[in-house]
């Protein structure tokens, strides 16, 4: 087989081996070709898309958030540039996380547990930035920005933060912005919200989020595999600044309201209270104070967990707007409903004399008047003016629970007023149907009596109550209260003026309301509210003392104090026959424990401040009980 030629070994070539080798080569290369065809041609478009998406992403350009002004153009919130520290979890190796979090904690002062919570609670994917520290100072920001590889995955971003000019004074109204939650993101992702976005969390910031936010722009950005920006390729759409708001709030009135409320609360240690002032002609809220409150700048800065827990655990609920988000028994202020209803339904006339006594008896139960001697025969002016309980027991009895409920609903009780603030509650107007539905029993006659004087099942929000009196003051129009007057575009032009929304025209003759206004004036002139009548301005209104909770050792219940009052169009010389009132004011003092009505004193002080009355008519508040006054 072998031939040796020149040291050569004649090869024993076998064609079959060559052919098999060639076949193997053909199979191998054909396989590669097939795979290549599959990737490039059959699935090519999919990979092209992936390839483009790989390098260029659409990034949002934040729009500048709209501002908020009071009715006189005072700026209530501004946007301040701040440094925010963010972490991209995908770039933070797990092995170094502990160390990085510790260093960040030391640098920013945010405690490490909060940082870990933020990273773990990240609503987006691990490629999205998570905010861990807001509003860090410049030196720290630079230090972190330059740390680079020492703090992998950590980035410093310049952001606009909200600064609220008056802080706590307006917190309940303005609310605040905060980081978007996972639930919100799920809903808002399609509207262009980002996982590390800020949005209005409560107050007007939340209810006007859409207008204030504006429209985020977008730019197509080339980035590297780590997600870092290399360059902006093109701006796809410009960011459009948000609209600004002009409120109905008068900062001075707001300050006066807070001052009056704080004065009363401080004297006798009242823990909660509310003052609202509004224009009954259009539902504009001039002032709305709820105490205790919080500083919304704390939230805008990024509240610490500890601070937040403190607010949450406060039994007087500073995060709640007690004017709209809580309900309380209205007490005697509710006699407006009973009186209006009884006259409108023809159960009594303005001048019908009703015998008032120390108590009324139903079966074996006595229903006492606050004045255990009674007032003798009383018409509506005497009954409302002295706030006679037996007078209104009688009227409520004549009306029955369902007509009483009807009139309550006419005045707007039992449903939210629709004010432009989130979280408003509805209150309860008891009726046969309501009790059947909720408690499975019919109303007892005694419960109708209680309902007639604003006790028992009746609960209202302070806003509902002032709105009812506003309808009385303006001659029977129930407006939807509102806080925003105008929406202003980024160019300073008014985009929309909020027109007064009429909820309802009360189903009552004008004369009935005129009677009730004068009855409310009688409350003042009969000196039920002591020296309120001495003020140079004319005030009509109604006080209320609403019992709640459990009896003390002497068998007495704790109580809240209310007063709702309004002035005529010309506060000095006007008449309550007219319906031109420009101001209704409500004060509510929770668990007030005062001898005289704290609500009356608060409204009095507010009126003095609001109208610039130099002489001081205030009475010192002392601890006592309401059996001396109602």
């Amino acid at each position: 087989m072998n031939s040796y030629v020149d040291g050569r070994v004649e090869p024993s070539r076998r064609l079959s081996r060559f052919l098999v080798f060639a076949l193997a080569a053909i199979i191998g290369i054909s396989g590669l070709t097939a795979r290549l065809f599959y990737l490039q041609i059959a699935n090519g478009t999919e990979f092209s898309a992936l390839s483009a998406q790989n390098r260029t992403v659409l990034q949002s350009i934040a729009s500048s958030r709209g501002l908020i002004y009071d009715r006189n153009g005072r700026l209530l919130v501004t946007n301040v540039p701040t440094y925010t520290v963010k972490v991209r979890p995908s770039d933070l190796p797990n092995s170094r996380r502990e160390e990085v979090v510790q260093r960040l904690a030391a640098l920013t002062g945010v405690n490490s547990a909060d940082i870990n919570t933020a990273i773990d609670g990240n609503p987006g994917s691990s490629f999205d930035l998570v905010r861990v520290a807001d509003d860090v100072d410049k030196a720290t920001a630079l230090l972190i920005a330059e740390a680079g590889a020492d703090l992998p995955g950590v980035e410093v971003v310049v952001e606009a933060r909200r600064h609220y000019t008056d802080g706590a004074l307006m917190s309940q109204l303005l609310g605040y912005t905060g980081p978007i939650s996972a639930e919100q993101l799920a809903v808002l992702k399609t509207s262009g919200y980002l996982p590390d976005d800020l949005l209005g969390k409560t107050g007007l910031e939340a209810s006007y989020e859409k207008q204030l936010r504006g429209t985020y722009g977008s730019e197509s950005v080339e980035r590297d595999a780590q997600g870092r920006k290399i360059q902006v390729l093109q701006t796809v759409s410009e960011a459009k600044a948000g609209d600004s708001l002009t409120l109905t709030i008068d900062t001075q009135a707001q300050k006066d309201a807070e001052k009056a409320l704080r004065w009363a609360m401080a004297q006798v240690g009242i823990k909660r209270g509310t003052v609202i002032a509004m224009n009954p002609q259009n539902g504009e809220i001039l002032a709305m104070v709820s105490l205790p409150t919080y500083d919304n700048n704390q939230f805008a800065r990024g509240i610490t967990n500890k601070e937040y827990q403190k607010l949450l655990n406060n039994p007087d609920k500073p995060l709640i707007n007690h004017a709209t988000q809580a309900w309380y028994p209205p007490g005697s202020t509710y006699k407006l409903v009973t009186g209006t209803g009884a006259i409108a339904d023809g159960k009594v006339t303005a001048n019908t004399q009703v015998a008032t006594k120390g108590f009324l008896t139903l079966g074996t139960t006595r229903f006492y008047d606050w004045n255990h001697r009674g007032f003798g025969p009383c018409d509506i002016y005497c009954g409302f003016g002295h706030s006679s309980d037996t007078y209104f027991f009688t009227l409520a009895g004549k009306l029955g629970i369902d007509r009483l409920a009807y009139w309550a609903e006419q005045y707007g009780f039992g449903s939210p007023t629709g004010i432009d603030l989130p979280g408003e509650v509805a209150g309860i107007v008891p009726s046969n149907q309501w009790k059947q539905d909720t408690l499975g029993a019919a109303i007892f006659p005694g419960e109708t009596y209680q309902a007639g004087i604003g006790q028992g099942y009746d609960v209202v929000t302070p806003l509902q109550l002032i709105n009812a009196y506003a309808a009385l003051a303006n001659g029977g129009t129930l407006y939807q209260p509102h806080l925003v007057k105008d929406i202003i575009g980024p160019d300073g032009q008014i985009v929309e003026t909020i027109k007064p929304t009429v909820l309802r025209k009360l189903d009552v003759k004008a004369s009935v309301l005129k009677t009730m206004r004068n009855a409310a004036r009688a409350v003042v002139t009969l000196r039920h509210t002591y020296n309120l009548v001495d003020l140079p301005i004319k005030i009509a209104g109604k006080s209320g003392t609403a019992e709640f909770g459990l009896k003390d050792r002497q068998g007495r219940l704790p109580f809240h104090s209310w007063f709702v009052g309004f002035t005529p169009g010309d506060p000095y010389h006007g008449s309550f026959d007219k319906t031109d009132s420009k101001l209704v004011v409500l004060a509510f003092a929770y668990d007030s424990r005062t001898k005289s009505n704290a609500g009356t004193e608060i409204v009095k002080y507010f009126m003095q401040l609001y109208y610039g009355i130099k002489k001081d008519y205030r009475n010192q508040l002392t601890i006592g009980n309401h059996y001396q006054s109602n």
Partner: protein
């Protein structure tokens, strides 16, 4: 047949009397295909340099280094062609020693990434001796198997070839360089097959190797090598980790389409999406920028090149030539299939270069030497002697 002719030494004859014959025997096609593949490699180096934002002829770019190595490769090719390959048979054992020496040297003073010792640096130049070792191994095996034509029915010759290949294989594994050691295996299998070794024993040997895979998994493979194999078998869950290169490579390839994005229009290396795109993943770049058609042209050139090598081997009157051709063809085919298969996600990730196209001096120069030897064999097959 079986005639033994006493031939006088002819080594001095060549230059004097058979220049014309020699040139006729020179395989111009082989040279052309290899040169075209090399040109594709240079084109890829060019596009990478431009995409990195550099001037193509700036010092130190992939392209200028590619050009430099191309020149060196041409010189090496000419020298290897001129060199009478028969000396290789004489020098087979010293060459084997040289090969082992280079690999030991690499282990001793070599540099590499992450504790590996793969290349030797001399000044600004680095050279990966394991590439040259592959060609030297082919020489040694061609000599061994060529000398044993007709005795390959025995297990002894097969085992002998295996024994020869074990020391360099172990040295390469120690670097560690799984890819190159696999190429050694591919060369051995291809050459044994073409040598006409007993099918029975080849099958038995194959069965033995398969049986040893679990042992290799446990004792030989490093963790990163296992991770790569893992990610090959199961690429999706680890797109950011070991499966990342693979995933990105397939995105690059897939985005090429029929005609590709055009040279210099691909994903820049600095963006970090497509790693090692000048070296092991160069085919992803090629498919992205030159498209399906460009890849087909490349495949066609490889097919033609392999055809020429096999034809030259077939034509060779010397068993050494046949065996050498078998070795070179095995090496190129194996590297082509494994490298491209890896980029396309049908083979595990191993650091095996794509012949001619992958940027790398050692690979190119070693291939030039191998093809030069092939030509040397061609031109020294004077039929006139018969």
């Amino acid at each position: 047949m079986g005639v033994i002719r006493a031939e006088p030494a002819r080594m001095t004859d060549w230059a004097a009397k058979s220049v014309g014959l020699a040139w006729r025997a020179f395989d111009w096609q082989l040279l052309t295909y290899a040169a075209l593949l090399g040109a594709i490699g240079l084109a890829m180096a060019y596009t990478n340099s431009v995409e990195d934002g550099k001037l193509p002829l700036e010092a130190g770019t992939t392209f200028t280094r590619g050009l430099m190595w191309a020149v060196i490769a041409v010189v090496a090719y000419v020298l290897a062609t001129a060199f009478d390959y028969r000396w290789l048979k004489t020098l087979a054992w010293p060459i084997y020693a040289l090969q082992l020496g280079l690999l030991v040297l690499t282990l001793g003073i070599g540099d590499g990434v992450g504790g590996a010792a793969r290349w030797i640096s001399v000044g600004p130049f680095t050279f990966q001796f394991s590439e040259l070792a592959k060609v030297l191994m082919i020489v040694v095996l061609a000599n061994y198997l060529g000398a044993r034509q007709g005795r390959l029915d025995s297990i002894g010759s097969i085992l002998g070839a295996c024994v020869l290949i074990v020391p360099p294989l172990v040295l390469v594994m120690l670097q560690p360089d799984l890819g190159t050691s696999l190429v050694f295996g591919g060369i051995l299998v291809g050459m044994l097959w073409m040598s006409g070794a007993s099918l029975k024993w080849l099958l038995a040997l194959g069965a033995l190797v398969i049986a040893m895979i679990p042992l290799a998994w446990t004792y030989v493979l490093r963790d990163y090598q296992k991770a790569r194999l893992d990610s090959f078998l199961n690429p999706a869950p680890d797109v950011q980790g070991a499966g990342y290169q693979l995933f990105q490579a397939q995105i690059s390839v897939g985005s090429g389409g029929w005609l590709g994005k055009g040279l210099t229009n691909g994903t820049p290396a600095q963006s970090g999406f497509l790693p090692v795109q000048t070296t092991d993943f160069v085919f992803a770049k090629l498919a992205e920028e030159l498209g399906f058609l460009g890849a087909m042209v490349t495949f066609l050139l490889f097919v033609l090149l392999l055809w020429r090598i096999l034809a030259d081997g077939w034509r060779s009157r010397d068993a050494f030539g046949t065996m050498f051709a078998a070795g070179v063809a095995s090496m190129i085919l194996f590297q082509l299939v494994v490298n491209v298969g890896m980029v396309l996600g049908v083979m595990p990730i191993t650091g095996i270069p794509l012949p001619f196209v992958t940027h790398g001096g050692a690979s190119l120069v070693s291939l030039a030497i191998a093809l030069g030897i092939m030509q040397s064999i061609n031109i020294r097959q004077s039929k006139a002697e018969w």
